[in-house]
């Protein structure tokens, strides 16, 4: 079985190489194949609750290759979302703690320094633990993750209604992503545009002419041209929506609109100096991020570099205090805000929202779930991430809207080419979007295979049961098989294979030992004693 044919760039997946020894050394990751974007090894995440320790993840391994979509399937409480949050360290602490494991993102171990963050002491024999956290180290780790979150790994969440801040407008929230990850080039473009004197009048005339004829493609083309001339692509978006307005009649009105759009290009001295300072701060932030990434790659802290960058940042910030004065603040922020607004509109356009300017200036509660999910996707793509984690992106949506979003994700996949970790409980969604599938059960990865292979030839009894229990809209005569019992309590999970109490093929050994992950077919691995393939040490 080869991987999905829809990806020409994707060669049939290579045989996993035996690289376990290399993976265990301190520096870690350099040896991992260059194709692998994200490599998660032996991830364990526990939650310390009053009732006991919930072993939510118990040694999860997964790999995502460039441009690939990996589907992660499982039932509620199997740990698929915990996996996603553990990768970006978004587990709420307390109660959750990542206990051990490595998350290698292009060779940097995101969990570096984990063992020093907390100490555990069992209270008597109660199964309860006293945790002494080193808040300094945890804070440091969270700062390190700021370098990764959003810029290298973006996340889309399940409930778009809840995932956007209700008190800020949509453009504000997208703009925040943009400021965090794209500020220096934006400011460069703005500064350059304000000094350069391109031959605009001629293009403006053509634009007015096109608008008079209501010739949408031409308006689009000319405004794009103006965008290129000024170096501000957002200006093209702004002009397009300004002159497209059907209420505008006559050259004069259109001309006035165009001039209104152009008015934000020239900047006052105060605005320029403000933008330059913002740029310096953003650059220092990026330096800090680079330092953090190197730290995670090399496994040793660079306190001097960090402190230096942070001190310089603080100095610049201190010098910029004057810009926060009420009147000045409004004046200096205006150009950047409108630039961010129109960039956000451009992003919303790219996720095929019909009236992006209107959506950008609304509050989340004014929009429908499908629309908000598009906004979330636009926000996630604002920084060109290496990996997009989509945590049940369509679960809260209606089927027709789900179809729209899936269509959008497919289109983006072929256009942007980021790797996607798609988490869902819906095998239908997996079958439509994913290239490879991992099945999780009770905190463990039990089967991984290319999507066709998995659906055609499921090996693990749980996967088989799962596939058999889905009612099919296209197959009326299918008898619904159910898996007896329910998902185990992860405070006291069954010993050995966690599926054995529900497994129709349970053997005595299943109760005693944890089944190893074995390779059964090319890139098809399974963790079950029924199979005796080569052990996957990876």
């Amino acid at each position: 079985m080869s991987a999905s044919a829809s990806f020409p760039s994707q060669s049939p997946l290579p045989e996993p190489e035996a690289e376990a020894p290399a993976a265990l050394d301190v520096a870690g990751a350099a040896t991992s194949s260059p194709d692998v974007v994200l490599d998660v090894r032996g991830l364990k995440t526990y939650f310390y609750t009053y009732d006991g320790v919930v072993r939510a993840l118990d040694g999860v391994n997964l790999k995502i290759r460039r441009g690939e979509t990996l589907g992660l399937v499982g039932e509620t409480g199997c740990g698929k979302s915990v996996t996603a949050f553990s990768i970006t360290r978004l587990i709420p602490d307390p109660p959750g703690r990542i206990m051990e494991g490595r998350v290698l993102l292009r060779g940097s171990d995101l969990l570096w320094g984990l063992d020093k963050e907390a100490r555990f002491k069992e209270v008597g024999k109660t199964g309860r633990y006293k945790i002494r956290r080193s808040y300094r180290r945890i804070q440091e780790a969270q700062r390190r993750m700021m370098a990764v979150r959003g810029s290298l790994i973006s996340t889309i969440f399940q409930e778009p209604m809840l995932a956007l801040n209700p008190v800020f407008r949509v453009w504000d929230q997208i703009g925040e992503s943009l400021t965090l990850h794209r500020l220096p080039p934006t400011i460069d473009a703005m500064l350059a545009a304000s000094t350069a004197a391109p031959e605009l009048p001629e293009a403006v005339d053509r634009l007015v002419d096109a608008a008079l004829h209501k010739d949408l493609p031409r308006i689009r083309a000319v405004s794009k041209e103006i965008g290129q001339l000024t170096g501000l692509p957002s200006l093209a978006t702004e002009m397009f929506y300004a002159v497209r307005n059907p209420n505008l009649v006559g050259t004069e009105a259109i001309g006035r609109e165009v001039q209104r759009c152009l008015r934000r290009v020239p900047l006052s001295g105060l605005q320029r100096s403000y933008l330059q300072r913002r740029r310096r701060i953003a650059e220092l932030d990026q330096t800090l991020r680079r330092i953090y990434m190197t730290e995670m790659k090399e496994g040793k802290p660079d306190r001097r570099g960090r402190g230096f960058a942070r001190a310089r940042r603080r100095a610049v910030e201190l010098g910029s205090l004057g810009y926060r004065l009420p009147g000045i603040r409004r004046h200096v922020k205006r150009p950047l805000d409108s630039e961010l607004f129109w960039q956000a509109v451009g992003l919303l356009e790219s996720v095929s929202i019909a009236s992006p300017a209107q959506v950008a200036s609304s509050y989340p509660h004014e929009l429908s779930g499908g629309m908000l999910q598009r906004v979330m996707i636009a926000m996630a793509l604002a920084s060109d991430p290496e990996i997009l984690i989509a945590d049940e992106p369509t679960t809260a949506l209606d089927v027709t809207i789900q179809a729209q979003i899936l269509e959008l994700m497919r289109a983006l996949k072929s256009r942007v080419g980021t790797a996607i970790l798609l988490i869902t409980h819906d095998l239908g969604v997996i079958a439509e979007v994913a290239d490879r599938v991992s099945v999780m059960y009770a905190g463990r990865m039990i089967e991984t295979a290319p999507v066709r292979e998995l659906f055609a030839n499921p090996l693990h009894p749980y996967t088989q049961g799962l596939l058999a229990s889905i009612p099919r809209v296209d197959d009326p005569n299918k008898k619904l098989e159910s898996i007896p019992g329910s998902v185990p309590n992860l405070i006291s999970p069954p010993p050995g294979c966690r599926f054995h109490p529900r497994c129709p093929h349970a053997m005595p050994i299943c109760k005693e030992q944890v089944p190893p992950t074995t390779v059964e077919a090319p890139s098809h691995t399974v963790a079950c004693f029924l199979y005796h393939g080569v052990e996957d040490r990876n």
């Binding site: 959003g150 801040n165 979330m376």
Partner: protein, 417 residues
């Protein structure tokens, strides 16, 4: 919904609430003996019990339709209202006040008077009149209140500022650093704020200030509790500025009260910086005491709602975007805690404003709270007491409208409902 529609709607709702409040007060005041009511309306008599006797109608002289002061009639023989009302000599007064009309009409008159700021008169025999220096004279309640109101507003604004400055960061960070020393500290502080009576807290603050600051006791000049604890005033008068100048007091150095009526503002307008500073310095301790009492109540809500917000999906989204933690707390969650603070402040505003009489009495500040005490002691001046109550209630109602508008501004979802 547009914000302005919401504001207008909220303002319209103000009227029925005011009518309702006046109805309650009408119900209460109806329980008073008729003599006291007449006295309160017209500004006659000494005020209420125990000095004002219950005068049966038959005892009155023909020449004086409403006796202002009367002989020491027995306290123990309350006149029946019916006897009082049938006496023809009382008729002019009763007619004038409308006390002969059916109850609903009386109610309507009361509400109308209330809404048109016609709140009766002070009792000429009361402490208030002595204070004014013109014994035996009666003034409209609204006039007296209008002299003292600016000072109370000043104090209220300063304490609101303290509340916001204290409760938001403390609430936020005690939620963020949950169960760590800062949180435990604020928790203890919040509990003790709940458990301390306002007069005890204020007295303790005052005593502590005198003990610790010593000479800087200009801050407590004129306080009855100070006088009680430290005996007679031991300091030179020149260090003890009365904070306001009212028409009837003429002996001290005053802060001017025109053109705005706000002593600090007026002092500044007149260029008297030191005076403004002195008035301001007198406000700090009382404002802090009031703020402490309110913050104790607010903190718990801010903390709990902050805990809830920090577990919201959109906070996770912000973190997943790469927003620095400080910005997550300040920008994304902070807006919420501001909303909650304002909301809880709105809910507890009645309690907040109800603390003013006590605080003003303890610290010797001349605001409308002090007016209330003057009208309680030594005998009840009903006109003033009810007038003060209406004024306090109006402040609460207006503040609630403002709170709602601010909330609607802060959280666009509220405008929907």
């Amino acid at each position: 919904m547009q914000l302005w529609v919401y504001v207008v709607r909220r303002l319209l709702l103000l009227i029925p609430i005011l009518i309702g409040v006046l109805t309650i007060l009408f119900g209460i005041i109806s329980a008073l003996p008729l003599t006291d009511r007449i006295a309160a309306e017209l500004g006659t008599g000494h005020g209420g019990r125990p000095i004002t006797p219950q005068i049966p109608c038959t005892n009155t002289t023909a020449s004086a339709p409403i006796p202002s002061v009367s002989s020491n009639t027995s306290l123990t023989t309350p006149a029946s209202t019916s006897a009082l009302c049938t006496n023809p000599d009382w008729q002019p007064a009763l007619d004038k006040l409308g006390f002969n009309l059916p109850i609903p009409v009386q109610w309507a008159i009361y509400v109308y008077n209330g809404l048109t700021f016609n709140w009766g008169h002070t009792a000429p025999g009361s402490f208030m009149s002595n204070l004014i220096g013109e014994e035996g004279k009666s003034l409209p309640v609204t006039t007296v209140l209008s002299w003292y109101l600016p000072f109370t507003i000043q104090l209220a604004l300063l304490s609101l500022l303290f509340i916001l400055v204290l409760s938001i960061p403390l609430g936020n960070y005690s939620a963020v650093f949950r169960n760590r020393p800062l949180d435990q500290g604020t928790r203890i502080m919040s509990f003790s704020g709940y458990a301390l009576a306002s007069f005890l807290l204020a007295s303790l603050v005052l005593i502590a200030a005198v003990e610790l600051l010593g000479g800087a006791t200009a801050t407590v000049c004129g306080s009855s509790v100070f006088n009680l604890v430290y005996g007679s005033w031991p300091f030179q008068l020149s260090t003890c500025y009365p904070v306001t100048s009212y028409p009837w007091v003429g002996t001290h150095v005053f802060a001017p009260t025109s053109p705005t009526g706000f002593p600090i503002v007026d002092s500044l307008i007149h260029g008297q910086w030191s005076l403004a500073l002195s008035v301001f310095s007198r406000l700090i301790l009382p404002a802090l005491s009031i703020a402490y009492l309110s913050v104790a109540g607010i903190l718990r809500y801010v903390r709990n709602s902050m805990l809830e917000v920090m577990n919201q999906d959109y906070i996770r989204t912000a973190r997943a975007k790469g927003v620095p933690e400080s910005s997550v707390i300040r920008k994304h969650a902070g807006r919420n805690s501001l909303t909650v603070t304002v909301a809880v402040l709105g809910l507890t505003f009645a309690a907040f404003i109800g603390g003013f009489p006590v605080i003003e009495e303890v610290f010797g500040l001349d605001g409308i709270g002090k007016v209330l005490i003057w009208s309680i002691l030594p005998n009840y001046d009903y006109g003033m007491i009810f007038g003060t109550t209406i004024l306090f209630t109006i402040i609460v109602v207006v503040a609630n409208v403002m709170v709602d508008v601010i909330q609607a501004y802060l959280d666009p979802r509220i405008r929907l409902g």
